[in-house]
Symmetry: C2
């Protein structure tokens, strides 16, 4: 492959508060899937409270060790980029950290059921586990759109060797959406 020298797409920033906290998060381990989901839900809620993006967060953990590899929040509005969903950015940041697009040793954890773009992004990342909090219904009720997914999307992932667990921690997973509505957040 030729060396790349010119950037057409510049970087997408995480909010300052998340960047500042990153040093305390890095290489943290959370052993139970429910704990990992609750942690992303808390990030999603914080993203809303600080008005730095939409009510979604995601993280990538190494399987086995349960070490945190990356974390991201939805920054569609502040970045002006429609791909800036939490799952896409958590995957991208993990691939950057791991220096490979093959995350087969990893799990994607999301505060909410992935939309159709992030469903595809999950496939191509090669993660072998997906854990999520809120069912898509919670996002729809808050005015967000998941897009047209195959109705048996969980089975489609399982058929490709991706273990799926969710919805989990549903009560906690409602909070980011309720906060978003109460603060009158912009639906993109």
């Amino acid at each position: 492959m030729e060396k790349k020298t010119e950037f057409f797409l510049s970087g997408i920033a995480m909010p300052e508060w998340l960047a500042e906290k990153w040093s305390t998060f890095a290489s943290m381990t959370l052993s139970a899937p429910e704990e990992r989901v609750r942690w992303t839900i808390a990030l999603a809620a914080e993203n809303v409270r600080r008005k730095t993006g939409g009510p979604f967060a995601a993280a990538v953990f190494e399987r086995g060790s349960n070490r945190l590899v990356s974390a991201a929040v939805n920054v569609v509005v502040p970045s002006g980029q429609s791909l800036a969903h939490a799952e896409m950015l958590a995957i991208a940041a993990a691939q950057e950290a791991e220096k490979t697009f093959d995350l087969s040793h990893c799990e994607l954890v999301s505060s909410c059921e992935p939309c159709v773009m992030c469903f595809g992004g999950t496939l191509w990342s090669k993660v072998t586990s997906l854990v999520y909090g809120a069912p898509g219904e919670f996002a729809r009720q808050a005015g967000f759109d998941e897009g047209d997914k195959v109705p048996d999307w969980q089975r489609a992932l399982e058929n490709r060797g991706i273990k799926v667990r969710g919805p989990l921690e549903e009560e906690a997973a409602r909070e980011p959406f309720e906060l978003y509505r109460s603060l009158g957040g912009m639906i993109y």
Copy 2:
């Protein structure tokens, strides 16, 4: 929204040859959809010949004026990023150029039918037209995977106000895949 200061995801580079040509492409107009598709097919073929990524390219044009807004090629392998499909990067570059995530004044042109991730990316970009060259079958025959899309994916886009035209220029659209196979390219 708070000011963003820290980058977790650094930029994704286009190959040097495309960056060098960009000044001659910028604001070019191509009035027929077949011309626009052939142009992206030629970029896809060049990406293969130069060994700078996969056999896919995409571009965003302004509707009405048919002015080129952005162009991108697949750089999954050189960037180490599984989201680095041509359509995702063409959309991202167009949103950066237009300084908004709302591309409702634009058309996405792709050398090939979009995969499930790029189908979702197309939805969220708000483009109102999609034109593509190769049917997904050509990509599958070359060993690429589109992922699990709803079977009536074209209608799903039309139902959301996105006009879809394709497959177009099928004979030309075979070339990038044939080149890729003949050069023994890496299927990611």
